[in-house]
Structure formats: C-alpha cells, structure tokens
Symmetry: none
DNA sequence: GATGAATGAGAGTTCATTCAT
DNA sequence: CATGAATGAACTCTCATTCAT
C-alpha cells in the first residue's frame, strides 16, 4: 500500500508536470494560468502547491525534466560502437528534430534561468545534455577520427549551435525537419577529420556540380 | 519651430525606447513595469501610451530597433572591398561581441514574436540582419572565394548559429569575448573555400550549368 | 456541511448584491467603486469577481433582483379576491411608494439595458413586473368590471406611466407619497369601468366642490 | 467684424453641443469621449474647455438645450385657438413622437440632475416644458372644457406620464409611433371633460367657493 | 493529503483636464 | 482664441498564492 501511495503521488506529480509542459508550450510562461494547469492535471489548484512551491519552481521542474529526458533520448539515439560519422549523424538528427518538436520549451528555458532578477545561471541539466555532444567529440579524438588540434568545446559549439539555429529557422518558417542541414554540417565536419586518403574525393568535380544542379532544381520547387 | 517640435517628439520617443530597452534587459518583459519605464524616460505614464499602444507594441518597437541598429552596425563593421576572410572575421567579431553585450535583448526577442496567441512570426528586422550574413557569403561565392556547392543558407546557419550559441555559452559562464571562437569558426570555414582558382581548362560546356547553379542559389537565398 | 457551505455562498452573494444596490443607488453606476462595494459586503475585491464577471454583470444582477423582488412584493400586496377597485388601489399604492423609495435603482435600470454598444434590450424581469399590471386589468375585463373595448396594454400604460411619472415628480420635489395621485388615477379609471348605475354620483356636485376646497387649503400649506 | 467673430463663436458652441448631443445619445454619457466630441465638432480637444468648464457642464448644456428646444417645438405644435381636444391631440402627438425620437437624451437627462453626488435637482428647462402641458390643461379649465375638480397637475401627470411610458415601451420593443396610444389617452381624458356647460342655476353663493378653488389650483400648478 | 473559495497586491490602461506654444 | 501633447489620478480586473475545511 505504501507503494501504491507513492505511485499515486508520483503519477500526480507527473500529471502536473505534463500539464505544465504542454500549457507552457502553448501559452508561454506568463500566458499559462496555474488554474488551467491544475485543471489539465485533473487536480485542485491548491494541490499544485503541494508539489511545487510556486510557479517559478514548477517552471524549473518542467525545464529540468525536459532536458533530462532530452539527454536520455540523445544517449539512446546513438549507436555506441558505430563509427564517428554515424554517431554524429544520429546525434545531429536527434538534436535537430527534438529542437524542432519542442521549440517552445527550448525558448522557455531562458525563463527558468532567471532567479529573482539575477543574471542567468547555467542549468545543470542543460550542461548534462551538452556533455553528450562533448563526449562524442572526445571519443572521436580518442579514436583518432577527429583531429586533436581543435578543442572539443569549439567543435561542439559549431555542431550544437548550427543545429539549434537551423531548428529555429525551420520552425519560424513553418518548415519540417530538413536532412540537408545535417548533411551539410557533417560534410563540414570533415574539416575536423584526419585525412588519410585525399583519394577519390577530388575526382569528377564538375559531375558533382551537375548532380547538385539537378537536386537544387527539385529543392526550389519545394521552397 | 515645427522642426523643434518634431525633434522633441523624436527625442521623447527615443527616450522611451531607451528606457524600455534597458529595463526589459534588466528585469525581463514581465518584470518591467510601465511606470518604471516612464520614470526612466522622464515622462508621465500616460505619455508612453501616446507613442505605443500597449506594452507589447513597446516591446516590439524595442526589439525592432535593436535589430535594425544591429544591422546598421554590422554593415558598418565590414570593410566592403576587403578579402572574404577579413570580412568574415569582422562580421564574426561584431556578431559575437554584440550578442554577448546585448544577450538579454536577444533572449527577449522571442517574446516580441508572439502576437496574441499565434505561433511565432518571423521578425522582418531579424531577416534583414541575417541577410547581411547571406550577402557576405554570396559575395564570397561570386568572387570565387567560396565554393558554390554549399547553399548560402547552410553556410550562414553554421556561421550565425555557432557564434550565437557561443555567445550564450560565454555569457552564462560569465566569460568575456573569446577570440578563439572566431578563429576556430574561420578556420573551419576554410572547408568551404576553394583551394585553387578555377583554371581555364575546367571551363567548358558545363559552365552554363555552374552559372545556372549560382543563379539558383541566389533565388534560394532570397526564399 | 454542504448546506452550511451553500448557505455561506448565498449569504455572500446576497451581501455583495445588497452592497452594490445601495452604493449604485447612492453614487450611480460609475460613481460606485468596486472596491467600495467589496468593502461594504465585507469581502475582498477579488471575491466580487468570483460571483460576477465584471461590473456590468453585477449591475445587471442588481437590477434583475430589484425587479424580481418588486414583482414578488406587488403580488403580495394585492388581495386576490377583492373587487377590482381595491386591487387597483393596492397595486397603485405599492407601485407609487416603491418607485419613490427606490427611485435611484429605477433610474439606474436603463444602464443595465445597455450591453456593450447595442441599443437597449427589454429586461425580462421588468416585463414580468409589468405583467402583474396586465393581469389585474385582464381580470377586471374578465369579471366585467372593466370594459373590454380598450386594450389591456393601453389601460396599463396609463396606470403604470402615470404613477411612474408622479413618483419621479414627487421625488424630485422632495415630496413624500401622496394619496391624491392614486385617488385621481382611480377615479379616472372609472372611465374604463362599466357603468350600470349612473345614480347618486351626479348628486351634490357643489357640496363636493366645497369639500374639495377645504382639502385644498390644507394641501397648500403642505406644499 | 465683431459680428462675424461672435457668429463664429456661436457656430462653434453650437457645433460642440450638436456633437455632444449625438455622441451622448449614441454612447451614453460615460461612453462618450471628450476627444471624440471635439473631433465631431471639428475643434481641438482643449477648445471644448473654452466653452464648457468640464464634461458635466457640457452634459448639462446638452440636456438644457434639448428641453428648451422641445419646449419651443411643443409651443409651435399647438394651435393656440383650437378647441381643447385638438390642442391635446397635437401636444400628445408631439410629446410621444419626440420622446421616441430622442429617447436616449431623455434617459440621459437624469445624469444631468446629479451635481456631485447630491440628490437630484429639478431641471428648470424641464419644468418649463411641463408647464406647457399645465398651460393647456389650465386653458381647458378656464374655457370650461375641462372640469375644475381635478387639479391641473394630476391631469398633467396622467397625460405626460402615460405618453412617456408608452414612448419607452415602444422604443424598447422597436415599434414606431403608434396613434392608438394618443387616441386612447384622449378618449380617457373625456372623463375629465365637462359633459354639459354649467347652467346659470348652478351659480350662486357657492360660486365664490368655486372661484377660489380655481385660483388655488393655479397656485398649486406653479408650486 | 486534497480542496477550491477567498484573498489582495499590483498591473496595465484610460481619459478628463491642463497649459505651453 | 485655439491647439493637442502631456499629464497622472484612478479605475477595473487578474491571478498566484493561501488556508479553513
């Protein structure tokens, strides 16, 4: 029974978090009414305050959970023993699609950083998420797939920042997930890769141009 | 006398905008009180409403002005006839340092996108700013300093996104402007640079295709 | 316990209505402050809004209640099986004295008709009250005490309108309830009554005049 | 030039009054904005205050003018030397149709009575208008067409009140002017009319009393 | 623990009125 | 006289939070 009791509590907390997440996403932090969150979680208004001291703590919990889940998902999306390029692709795909899907929560995150009017703090759960990126980069260096000259954080900033900005661009233009963003980023990342074989890549540059031309023609019609 | 009158009006509008900008930055949109903005602008509360219909329109004006000024500054920062790498450096430095300095306004920008309960709109002034980046990239392609294979918007996403994310990282870690971020980004951009000027031999029947390619890219850039 | 709860809610609603009624009467609709109404009802300002969405709905409730109570009182004031003339007298007395007592609420009624910027609506509760008058007239016709030639609504307009206007006249002159108004109206209503016996009424017309003279002398001192 | 000047001033005052009248009628006293009144009168906001100290004085002027014009119109509508019944008909028609047409201004009149929060004052211009009714009644008595037994003010209350209430009923039901209202009222007024001219026989020692009676009536009429 | 009625501080906004030009 | 930008007091209403049940 103690278990059942605890489970009910957790289910309730989860319901509140889910309700808050969805409403924050829909209406923004200030647009979301505590009363509406309670209604969606199917609890009384006062009940929310049994779980979270106030609206801001609820927001922090929402954001915290979001990034924790995101971290979990990122780790799950990566094939641990695959070659670097595959791992990067997997992570890029996951990152870009997630940011697109939960764009609103990402935007709201900055609100959770503000405690009282102080300058922004770094949220630990976000650092945890970023660490996933760093980890992959580090692995690449260790395995010799990435050059060691560029610091991890710099490569990560490019990787993370490009995809984040692309996500915002896509969302604001009502565009869906776009593979080319990932493709481009990965091919750029070749610049960080140790080059053993300059070989075939340089061959047929004009054919590549023609091929690209064809692709572009298709793209234009889609834009 | 008409001039004096107009000047006073403009000075007042400017004072209100400045007051709002600083307070929004310090306290966030919702933390900023209209009364305090009026006080800082040294006008009566009601006066603010002569210039801006409501708080949200004031916010929009603040954000609008910020990005317009940013665009102006970016254009001024670039040496028009310098080689690409210098222009990129100048733009990157300007972008990174500006985002660091006005981090709060950048964060607040998302609030200005929300009109009522609609999904986010793209703000024209931001597009204008982004266009500066696109312009540089396009110039690079046209001058043959950048390869034409990668669409402008993709290179720009890397450039813009990396610096933006780096700015956030720096700010949240209380770090100042860091040259290495720019250096790294530029050296990465070498990946996009043509390693050798196209020789005459490569010119031929496929040049038309390349030309078309370039034209198409332009169209894409303009959406 | 549920009963106690419900009773408390109703008591509160009643307190708010009473407070609003008195303050609207004293200060007019726009002169009445919601804060003062709350204070008089001994509740917090916000509490008023739990019961009424806004000031206008509160006004509507006040007016609605007033006319409903008035209707109830009118019905109670009439002796159901008395002869017509008595019923008319009772109703006239009730109507006149009520309108005098609650003159302000009657005046305010027109404000409750305005919803937004629409033309005035008829208020159902007033129609209900007017229906009491129609009912009496109708009864008189049915019982043969009133002639059927004149439509009920015309007789009612005379009855209702005369008394209402008299009430306003009296109030604005700071005069109290005046029996002569009712007497006069009722004697006029003889014009609507079926005349079986022209008999004694015509006798002693000059004596009546003398009698009236004496009465009038008294009245003049009173005016 | 002085004349032109004065004329311009009067035209302006008139424009302001007209603008205020129409807007008060459309939007009610509190719904009417001084700025909008100024706009309609084609003057600057501040100009209104050169002619009227504040909004309430403007309201008083509007109401005052309305009833003065109404009085003028009523006098013009009556054929001075026609028989009583015709004069009554003319007055009734005029009264009813005017109240219907300017229902809003009539309703607003009560607002003009309130000075500061004091109880209502009688407005002199309304008294003047009512006096027109009294005058007709008095004429009827003097000419022997109306019986002297009923005080003038009582007959007038019936006459005035019935029509006023009918006007409100018609307006609120979106009905137009209805002749039957006037017809009914006039036929009812036959109850007040002498059925036969007083014969000489009835004249005697009691005539002095009757005469006094008539005199007293007059005094009462003037309050 | 759960409820939801009650709270009341505080916000944005309006608009009659003023006064420098 | 006329203007209309500026004023600022005062309003209604909201909603996060509390607490008696």
């Amino acid at each position: 029974m103690g278990d059942t009791q605890r489970q009910r509590l957790e289910a309730r907390e989860e319901a509140i978090l889910a309700a808050a997440t969805s409403l924050f996403g829909e209406s923004g932090v200030d647009g979301a009414r505590m009363a509406e969150i309670a209604r969606r979680a199917d609890v009384a208004e006062g009940t929310v305050y049994l779980y979270y001291k106030n609206k801001h703590e609820l927001l922090e919990a929402v954001v915290d959970r979001f990034w924790r889940e995101l971290t979990k998902g990122a780790k799950a999306a990566i094939t641990a023993d695959a070659p670097l390029s595959q791992q990067l692709t997997e992570l890029a795909n996951y990152h870009l699609s997630s940011l697109i899907d939960d764009f609103k929560i990402v935007e709201i995150t900055s609100r959770a950083r503000q405690r009282h009017g102080e300058p922004g703090r770094q949220l630990p759960q976000i650092r945890e998420y970023v660490r996933v990126f760093d980890l992959i980069m580090q692995r690449g260096i260790t395995s010799g797939e990435l050059e060691a000259a560029t610091p991890v954080w710099q490569m990560r900033d490019v990787f993370y920042g490009t995809l984040e900005h692309s996500a915002r661009t896509l969302v604001l233009r009502n565009k869906p997930f776009d593979t080319r963003v990932v493709d481009n980023l990965l091919s750029l990342f070749d610049g960080y890769r140790l080059k053993h074989k300059p070989s075939k890549q340089e061959v047929g540059s004009k054919d590549a141009a023609l091929e690209l031309l064809r692709r572009l023609e298709n793209e234009i019609t889609r834009w």
